[in-house]
Amino acid sequence: MSKPTDLVQGALDLLIMKILALEPLPGWAIGRRLKQVSGDVLQVSAGSLYPDLHKLQQEGWITAEWKPSENNRRAKLCSLTRLGGKELEKEAANWNRLSAAISRVVKLKEA
């Protein structure tokens, strides 16, 4: 199982916040959605996802509320806060800069 967090520090934060920016989701669905939109390339284990969700929540970037779900169950629905939106913009810009830089280095022609 690949662990995105191992690749780039902070990438998981960025991915989660981006997904929640589209629509509020419970933790379980975030993992599913990530897998789906990345074409099965990115997978996040429960062991990484939940601590990270709690971290984002403690930073005040996402907030959670309990909503009724199917089969009489309650689901904890996470959504992005305004503060989180700003953080997402910053992180996304960072990521673009970083990935572009990495790409430039990787594409260097060998002499």
Partner: protein, 912 residues
């Protein structure tokens, strides 16, 4: 941004802390939801429910671990654990209330003593004056006369204006009724504006109130006096009160908390410097030489000012150098023909310095800063001893908790975590001690101020539990917790797990170390308390020597009253009227029932009244010839007395006749009485009666010789005194003291004497009404303070050391029950066992005594200046201190020793 972040996150942290149950339940539910959805998904893919469940759980990788990781993300781990520790610590302490009470009380005594000392030191030595920007204030290092002040002001470019003040005791009468005398300050017009103080009622003095000598009878009163004497009556403004016989108009009231520029004294009245001629007790030669405020040598004013921005103290000295030199030259010139050639020379060598005035001036500081510093050291030592004690108690406790600690370590608790837990317990104890200590300190402070105030000048200090004191107490508490808690915590958590968990094993290795640490602590306790006991002993013996010192007079049943009739500041002009008043007063008081005799004198013993003196006795003429006495180090003191002075005070008349009322006139033949030492200096062994004594201007017949008397201090050499019948010589305002010898209790007579005085002259003020013995008591207030406190702390230290010793030995005995059982089974007698334990005790005590004795011998020099009649290393005191400590220690060691001797060998062996 940072702040906004906090705005969001702080409520989240608080929720994590205080809604912990809910947060936990939600975490549980969240993860369960995930797993259930995962299971459903797996089932949908065709797994059996069993397989699906297993796969889901495996993917999660341990629900509890995940939870723990999520909890870590809450960022409140540390606080959560701290709260856990606090809760657990409180529970543990509650479970052993005896230990907790002893430890908290010990700490409270130590911390309380330190807080008391600190709050006094803070008030006396450290705190700034309660005025605007005190750090800008500077004072000049010497006093100046009013002409001197004028010269300084003329040249001054470095301050925003120099102002002067001088303290004076003022007799007050209101509406024709004499009142208790109060302390006044004569101040420059700009005094209040330089300090930046504003009135709460009326107005304060201004430059306009300080222009012409004698022309500004206005006064400002203190908030305290306004409240105390006038019941905070706002109509006080414009009222007239009489100060030293001159009517003054009250123009304003100072704000509460303002006590002038002198810490420790709080003047009730502020009057302009220009009123000095009316208010100052001018006596001595100065009064004969023209108006006070024009006399360059009448240097009574303390001068201070506020530095201009950017001016340093060094620049200020440089800037004031020129006027200072001018003043110095004027003084040298003025005294060029002084009969003592050293006077002009001394003036010419004077230097000027500029000092920070931010914490004002203080007599109290001069008098008590050394005692307070020494006592601060003493209480710090007491706290150290207390810490050693509690460390010992904790060590003993740790051995009782070894199983519990070992168990926790086995279950995976980190050692650091356990140390933190134990330190939290120590901190809880220290906090309890600190809170109790604050309580003790507020009592101690009152007690201490009461002892300090038994001096002649009342001491009024603003001592409160403010944030500085709280800060001090808090820091001391935390420091002590670390001091006494750290070593035992480290020690307790280094446990050999296997033997510790076994029921009876003693874990010998750890035990030996623990015992060693405990012994070191006890040895240092014994050493420290020996220093304190020895110090206390030196003070006790000093006080004994002082109170048995012969003074040359009998103070018991003598009442002293300083009287101040109007016009007493000008004896020459009013000599007839004053003689009349004094004689009448003496006659009427002598006739009162219960009075044996009454007289008057200046000065009165121990009343801190100043002698007039001939500082150059070699200039005295004996029978017209220069005196044989060339000892100019010892001045000849001049006193004025009325008949029966020697009888009333109990001073023995060695030869000749007493002074008669007929001698008390400027027209009578001039006679003097001399003291024994004076007679020996002037006449060696010859009979002085009938010989003549002269100062070049006048000539006196010696009519008698009296016993030597100590006039100022119990420690000083006896003075050489020449006594004149009253109107001969000099007195200033209110310097005559009435002395009354009574047949019994003297205080009952006070009101009768007061009434009689009013009948003779209703403006006559009476000050300092006290038994003569109270003046002697007041002269040794420092020694009494030090003796009382050193004894208290010395005994406290000894008690703590004894408790510590007992604790260590008791613990040692209970650990060695098995060994003692074997010894007894092998034939050891009870006395052998007692000897065994006592030997161990005495070894510790002996080591402590040796260390303590060498430290005491080295350190008692610090208090040498207070000691009287013995050296700082007085062998008897040292021996007694050591013996006392040895006895107490032997007792503390005997109790566990006796218990050891009662060990039943069968019992002890079976126990194993």
């Amino acid at each position: 941004m940072r702040l906004r972040h906090w705005f969001y996150t702080v409520p989240l942290r608080l929720r994590s802390l205080f809604r912990r149950n809910q947060v936990e339940q939600e975490l549980d539910e969240e993860l369960r939801y995930h797993i259930e959805r995962q299971i459903e998904e797996h089932i949908a893919k065709g797994m059996t429910p069993e397989e699906a469940r297993y796969a889901a759980l495996r993917a999660m990788g341990g629900v509890e671990q995940r939870k723990e990781e999520c909890r870590d993300m809450r960022r409140v781990r540390l606080i959560e654990e701290l709260m856990q520790d606090v809760r657990y610590g409180l529970r543990t302490l509650r479970r052993s209330p005896g230990f907790t009470a002893v430890a908290a009380l010990t700490l409270a005594l130590g911390i309380g003593a330190n807080t008391t000392m600190f709050s006094l030191i803070d008030a006396v030595l450290l705190k700034s004056l309660p005025v605007r920007r005190p750090e800008e204030l500077v004072s000049l290092s010497r006093r100046f006369s009013y002409p001197g002040l004028k010269i300084l002001r003329e040249y001054d470019q470095v301050t925003t204006g120099l102002v002067a003040f001088t303290p004076v005791r003022l007799g007050v009468s209101i509406a024709g009724q004499a009142e208790p005398a109060v302390l006044g300050h004569l101040v420059s017009g700009a005094y209040f504006s330089v300090l930046g103080v504003h009135p709460i009622l009326g107005r304060l003095l201004g430059d306009g109130d300080d222009q012409t000598p004698g022309a500004h009878p206005v006064a400002v009163i203190s908030h305290g006096y306004w409240r105390r004497r006038f019941g905070s009556d706002p109509a006080i403004i414009g009222k007239t009160i009489s100060l030293a016989g001159t009517p003054f108009t009250v123009i304003g009231v100072t704000p509460p908390g303002f006590f002038g520029a002198e810490v420790g004294s709080s003047p009730d009245i502020f009057a302009p410097v220009m009123m000095s001629p009316q208010l100052m007790p001018a006596g001595g030669p100065v009064a004969e030489e023209g108006p006070l405020l024009e006399h360059i040598g009448y240097e009574i004013f303390q001068v201070f000012g506020r530095l201009k921005p950017g001016i340093t103290e060094a620049q200020a000295v440089a800037g004031l150098e020129a006027p200072f030199r001018q003043i110095r030259d004027a003084l040298v010139k003025r005294y060029a023909h002084h009969f003592d050639a050293r006077v002009p020379q001394r003036y010419s060598q004077e230097k000027l310095a500029v000092n920070s005035f931010s914490s004002g001036l203080s007599q109290v500081r001069r008098q008590f800063s050394r005692p307070l510093q020494i006592l601060m050291t003493v209480v710090a030592l007491v706290l150290l001893i207390a810490c050693a004690n509690i460390a010992n108690l904790l060590l003993a406790r740790a051995s009782g908790r070894r199983k519990e600690i070992a168990l926790r370590l086995c279950l995976g608790a980190g050692r650091a975590r356990l140390i933190r837990q134990l330190l939290t317990e120590s901190l809880l104890l220290a906090i309890m001690g600190g809170i109790l200590g604050l309580l003790f300190a507020s009592w101690g402070r009152h007690l201490l101020l009461a002892i300090m105030s038994t001096g002649l000048a009342p001491i009024s200090l603003e001592v409160r539990t403010d944030y500085r004191v709280l800060g001090f107490t808090g820091s001391v508490s935390i420091l002590t917790a670390i001091l006494f808690g750290l070593a035992p915590a480290f020690r307790a958590t280094r446990v050999d797990l296997i033997p510790a968990l076994k029921d009876n094993a003693r874990g010998f290795g750890g035990s030996v170390f623990r015992m060693r640490l405990g012994k070191v602590l006890v040895i240092s306790q014994v050493a420290l308390s020996l220093i304190l006991i020895a110090g206390a002993g030196l003070f006790i013996r000093t006080l004994y020597n002082l109170s048995h010192q012969r003074t040359g007079f009998t103070p018991e049943n003598v009442l002293a009253v300083r009287v101040e009739p109007k016009g007493s500041n000008d004896l020459h002009k009013n000599v007839a009227k004053l003689s009349q008043i004094y004689q009448t007063l003496i006659e009427r008081v002598s006739a009162m029932p219960g009075v044996k005799s009454a007289t008057m004198s200046n000065p009165s013993p121990f009343s801190s009244g100043r002698f007039n003196a001939i500082s150059f006795p070699s200039k005295l003429l004996v029978d017209g010839q220069p005196s044989a006495d060339k000892n100019d180090q010892n001045p000849a003191l001049l006193a004025q007395v009325y008949p029966k002075y020697f009888a009333t005070l109990g001073i023995s008349l060695l030869a000749g006749r007493d002074i008669q009322m007929t001698d008390c006139s400027r027209d009578a033949p001039m006679v003097v009485v001399i003291s024994k030492t004076m007679a020996r200096r002037l006449f060696q062994n010859a009979n002085p009666i009938g010989r003549r004594l002269g100062d070049g201007r006048r000539d006196y017949e010696v009519i008698s010789v009296v016993e030597d008397v100590r006039y100022d201090s119990l420690k000083e050499e006896t003075a050489s005194v020449i006594y004149f019948p009253f109107p001969n010589g000099q007195t200033g305002r209110g310097q005559m003291t009435l002395q009354v010898r009574t047949t019994g209790e003297s205080s009952a007579l006070v009101s009768a004497i007061r009434a009689e005085a009013q009948r003779i002259d209703d403006t006559m003020a009476m000050n300092d009404v006290r038994p003569l013995s109270a003046f002697i008591e007041a002269s040794i207030v420092q020694e009494r303070l030090m003796t009382a406190l050193m004894s208290f702390f010395g005994l406290l230290a000894m008690l703590l050391a004894a408790i510590g010793l007992y604790g260590v030995m008791a613990n040692s005995v209970s650990q060695r029950t098995h060994e003692i059982g074997i010894r007894m089974a092998l034939g050891a007698q009870r006395t052998d066992v007692i000897g065994l334990v006592l030997r161990e005790t005495m070894l510790m005590v002996g080591a402590g005594l040796i260390i303590g004795l060498s430290a005491a011998l080295a350190s008692t020099r610090l208090i040498a200046s207070w000691l009287y009649g013995l050296t700082p290393n007085d062998p008897l005191t040292m021996a007694l201190a050591g013996l006392l400590l040895l006895t107490v220690a032997a007792l503390a060691g005997y109790l566990p020793a006796r218990r050891a001797s009662r060990v039943d060998p069968m019992e002890a062996l079976r126990h194993e």
